[in-house]
Structure formats: structure tokens, C-alpha cells
């Protein structure tokens, strides 16, 4: 009951908002280059479906690849840091430097240095996305129950056994929390990089279409691309939340339900 209400209420609010927007545009007779009506945006999504679809795929691919690379890279780094205090102390500060430097400031350099647009965008998105996974997973790997660690020691577990059977599973909720943040960030990273690349005339995904439509005052297309970016963001969030729920539902408080 309350669950169906959970999706019904926001849907109603959204529909009401769209209706008010449509009505306002029609009544006040606002020209489409200032504010297009939702119907005009929807029409644009259909008529320019091909172009926008290709842009959508490009942005989606960049985001997904960057997130996958962030999972692999940050996961591996976190495991290495957890195994070696020396490595962590020498390298972690640079991870922080990379994290706190605004990507807009670095992106032009990367785009100049790297010829392949996709690779350049991937690097930018990766830089933005890897840190939450790294720092969360690292904390997770280090917050293993001390008594369980002692138990593994008593039974003479190897480092590999301890990592695989104990540290990785107990870091899983932390990793998944980082993954949710990184999912959104990898999209932001990809979009920012597309803008920077687009400003230099390199064609890419949805953000490039927004930039282009802005130059040409094609507001419906701009809004349509914007809508698609939001949709990608929501889709990423929902699928990562579902993944996290699925992996943790048997044991972690964040995902278990009371009525079992």
C-alpha cells in the first residue's frame, strides 16, 4: 500500500507540474526559444530521436565505462592500501589531490593531450568517480570485526583467505555506498568533460548536443537532451540501489526488511 503510494505521489506531482508548465506556456504565449512547452520537448524527442539516441548511447557508454574503470581501479587500490600501510601513506595523498582538483580545470588539459575523444572523456569521468569507491572501500576493509580477524588468525588463515572470506565481504556495504555516489559522479564527470570537449568543437554525447542547441537557440532540443541526462542519472541511481539491495538483503541492516 505505502509502497505503491511511494511511486504514485511523485508521479502525480510530476504530471501536475508538467500540466502547469504546458498551460503557462500556452496562456502566456511564451516563444519556444525562451521556454518550450513539454509537448514541444516531447515532439523533439520523437522527431530527433535518432540524433539524441546516438548522443544518449555515447554518454551512457562513457559513464558506464568510467564507472567500471573506477570500480576496478579504486577497488584494486583500496585492497593494496589495506594490505600495505606504506603504500597507503605514500599514495593516498595523491588520490586526495586528484579528488579535490576541480575536473573543469583539468579537463581541457586532458582533452588536449588525449586525441581519442572517448578516452579523454573516460579519463575525466574516472577521476571524478574513483574517489568515493576508494575511500569507502578502504574504510570498509579496515573496519572488519577484530574478533573475526582474531578467529582467522587462530585457524592459521592465509592473507588471501582473510581477504577473500572476511575483509571483502565485510567491506561490501561500504563499497556499495561508495558505488552509489560514484555512479552519479561518473555521469557528472562525463557531462563536464563533454562540455569542455564540445567547446573545442569535438562531437560527443548529450552534453555536446546541449551546447550545440544552445548556440543555435534550439531550446526544445536542449531541454530534450537535458531530460535524457536526468533520466540517465536516475536510471544509474536506481539500478545501483537495486544492486546494493540485492547483495545485502540477507544480512545488512540497510537492506533487510523487518517482516522476515
Amino acid at each position: 500500500m505505502s509502497r505503491s503510494l511511494d511511486s504514485l505521489l511523485p508521479a502525480l506531482v510530476g504530471l501536475a507540474g508538467l500540466a502547469a508548465w504546458e498551460a503557462a506556456v500556452r496562456i502566456a504565449d511564451i516563444p519556444p526559444y525562451e521556454l518550450p512547452a513539454p509537448s514541444a520537448i516531447a515532439l523533439e524527442l520523437v522527431t530527433d530521436g535518432d540524433l539524441l539516441g546516438r548522443a544518449l548511447l555515447f554518454t551512457l557508454a562513457t559513464t558506464a565505462l568510467a564507472l567500471a574503470a573506477a570500480v576496478l581501479g579504486a577497488g584494486a587500490l583500496a585492497i593494496m592500501f589495506a594490505q600495505s600501510r606504506l603504500l597507503e601513506r605514500s599514495l593516498f595523498p595523491y588520490a586526495i589531490v586528484l579528488q579535490v582538483t576541480p575536473i573543469v580545470a583539468v579537463a581541457p588539459l586532458i582533452i588536449i593531450w588525449v586525441d581519442n575523444t572517448l578516452v579523454a572523456l573516460l579519463i575525466c569521468a574516472w577521476i571524478v568517480a574513483f574517489f568515493p569507491i576508494l575511500s569507502n572501500t578502504l574504510i570498509g576493509l579496515k573496519s572488519t570485526d577484530r574478533n573475526l580477524v582474531a578467529l582467522f588468525k587462530i585457524y592459521g588463515a592465509s592473507r588471501w583467505q582473510e581477504l577473500r572470506l572476511l575483509r571483502l565481504p565485510s567491506a561490501m556495504p561500504f563499497f556499495l555506498a561508495g558505488l552509489r555516489i560514484s555512479g552519479g559522479l561518473s555521469l557528472i564527470g562525463a557531462v563536464v568533460a563533454e562540455f569542455v570537449a564540445g567547446a573545442g568543437g569535438r562531437e560527443s554525447g548529450l552534453a555536446y548536443r546541449i551546447l550545440e542547441a544552445g548556440y543555435r537557440l534550439e531550446m526544445p532540443r536542449m531541454f530534450a537532451a537535458l531530460f535524457l541526462i536526468s533520466a540517465v542519472g536516475v536510471a544509474i541511481y536506481l539500478s545501483l540501489a537495486a544492486l546494493s539491495d540485492r547483495l545485502l538483503r540477507h544480512w545488512h541492516e540497510s537492506a533487510t526488511r523487518d517482516e522476515e
Binding site: 570485526d145 574478533n147 573475526l148 582474531a150 578467529l151 582467522f152 588468525k153 587462530i154 585457524y155 592459521g156 588463515a157 583467505q161 572470506l165 572476511l166 565481504p169 565485510s170 561490501m172 540477507h250 544480512w251 545488512h252 533487510t256 522476515e260
Partner: protein, 251 residues
């Protein structure tokens, strides 16, 4: 009977300078149920961790008689909390010591099932720890500790967090398990009544630094039951141990 493990003049000083244990010598024999009794902070848990090899002694030696002891130690350990892996099913939690020793397949699984049956948990193999009560989690923890048929079972106040009814039941079940499997048991507790009921030997420890202040033999025969708790013999043992404990704390 030769001891399973002997501690000779063991002392332990932590990095912060605290002297937790100062000169403890004791021998744990096979078939003994030994309680380490003392107030909190008297170093009794530290003695347990020293026996388990979880922390090295600052002085003295821990000597194992059995040859098996040179490799993986033939011991089980039960912590104050159940200390189960929350992501693993009950059966997998009990299988853990066997898996870590490289045993797998149906033989190991049957061993784990048998251990669960011995603590009265058949039918809960597929459950997750969070679905169990505190007492049942502790039973899983005990099953895991005995699944390797250890020579020595070390227990660090395992029932301290449980309610009275559950604790009394677990006391009886633990004694039954001990008589059945014949391991040496070392049981850390701060309850005089619990130690007298369970043990045939009680070592009373004095705090800061931890030393053995008194050594009691409780020669009442096993199996012990509810009537033992009501017997004058039980009361007089409790009185003597309590007096020794009070003296150790005053010293």
C-alpha cells in the same frame, strides 16, 4: 595426565605501559574444566589470548605438549559476542574453520551439520545469523569452535550478555558437550556461581597486574544438574570462592 598447554611465569605488558598479567603459571589438562575468575580488568581475557597465540607474552613461555600444536593450534575460541560472519549462513559459519584448513566437500559439511546438531540447532543450517536469537547465535559460535574437535576450548565470558534462563540452559549444554567430546576447557567469567557450577578447577585472579590468587578444586561429580545448584556443597564452594575473590580484589 600430561597437560595440553602450560604457561610458565607469563607476563604481559602492553605498549602503553599497562601491566596486564604479571607472572602467571598454570597447566591445562585434558578433561579439565578450568574457570578463570576475576573482576573486570584483571587480565583474565589477556591470559586467554596469550594461550590462543593472539598476542605474544612479554615474558615467560607458553608450551604445547601435542605435536599438532606446532602448526595450526588445536583449539577453539568462543568470544564474548557470537562473532559470526553476518553475510554467511549458519552452516557456512560453522564450516569456516574446516574451510580455512583446506577441507571442503560433503565430508566437511557433514561434520558441520553434526556440530550444529550437538548444540541443538539442526534445521537452522540455512538461516542467517540475524534471524537467530542471542542464545542461538552463541550456540552457532560454540558449534564453530568444536567443529574441528579441538583439544582445548577457550571461552571468553561467552554467556555474559545473555539472560539468566538462556545462560543456565547453555551452561548445561556446554557441560554435556564437554563430557561428550573430552576437550580441555578454559572458561573466563566474573560470575562465582557460574564458575562453581561448571568447573572442576577455579583459578581466582587478582587485578593489576593479573596474578593467580587462589586455586580451587571443585570435586563434585558430573553430570551436575539443578539439584547441585541447591546443594549445601555448592553453597559452601561459592562461599569459599567468593571469599577468595574478595580477598584478591582487596589485595
Amino acid at each position: 595426565m600430561p597437560p595440553i598447554v602450560s604457561l610458565k611465569d607469563i607476563s604481559k605488558r602492553f605498549a602503553n605501559g599497562t601491566e596486564a598479567v604479571g607472572g602467571v603459571s598454570l597447566a591445562i589438562r585434558r578433561g579439565d574444566f578450568t574457570s578463570l575468575l576475576g573482576p573486570s580488568g584483571c587480565g583474565k581475557s589477556t591470559v586467554l589470548r596469550l594461550i590462543a597465540g593472539l598476542t605474544p607474552p612479554s615474558g615467560g613461555t607458553v608450551a604445547w605438549t601435542d605435536a599438532r600444536a606446532s602448526g595450526g593450534r588445536p583449539l577453539g575460541f568462543v568470544f564474548q559476542e557470537p562473532t559470526l560472519m553476518p553475510w554467511a549462513r549458519v552452516l557456512d559459519n560453522v564450516l569456516l574453520p574446516l574451510r580455512l584448513a583446506g577441507a571442503r566437500g560433503p565430508k566437511a559439511e557433514n561434520q558441520a551439520r553434526a556440530a550444529l546438531a550437538r548444540v541443538g540447532l539442526e534445521g537452522f543450517e540455512r538461516s542467517f545469523p540475524r534471524q537467530l536469537s542471542g542464545g542461538m547465535k552463541m550456540r552457532v559460535s560454540i558449534a564453530r569452535a568444536v567443529v574441528t574437535t579441538p583439544l582445548l576450548l577457550l571461552m571468553d565470558e561467552p554467556f555474559a550478555a545473555l539472560d539468566e534462563i538462556t545462560r543456565l540452559k547453555l551452561n548445561d549444554d556446554l557441560l554435556a558437550l564437554w563430557r561428550q567430546q573430552g576437550f580441555g576447557a578454559v572458561f573466563v567469567t566474573h560470575s562465582v556461581f557460574e564458575s562453581v557450577y561448571l568447573s572442576n578447577r577455579i583459578l581466582v585472579m587478582s587485578p593489576r597486574p593479573g596474578r593467580i590468587a587462589a586455586d580451587f578444586e571443585i570435586d563434585a561429580p558430573y553430570p551436575r544438574g539443578a539439584e547441585f545448584r541447591l546443594s549445601p556443597e555448592y553453597a559452601s564452594h561459592c562461599a569459599a570462592v567468593s571469599a577468595a575473590l574478595a580477598q584478591a580484589m582487596a589485595a
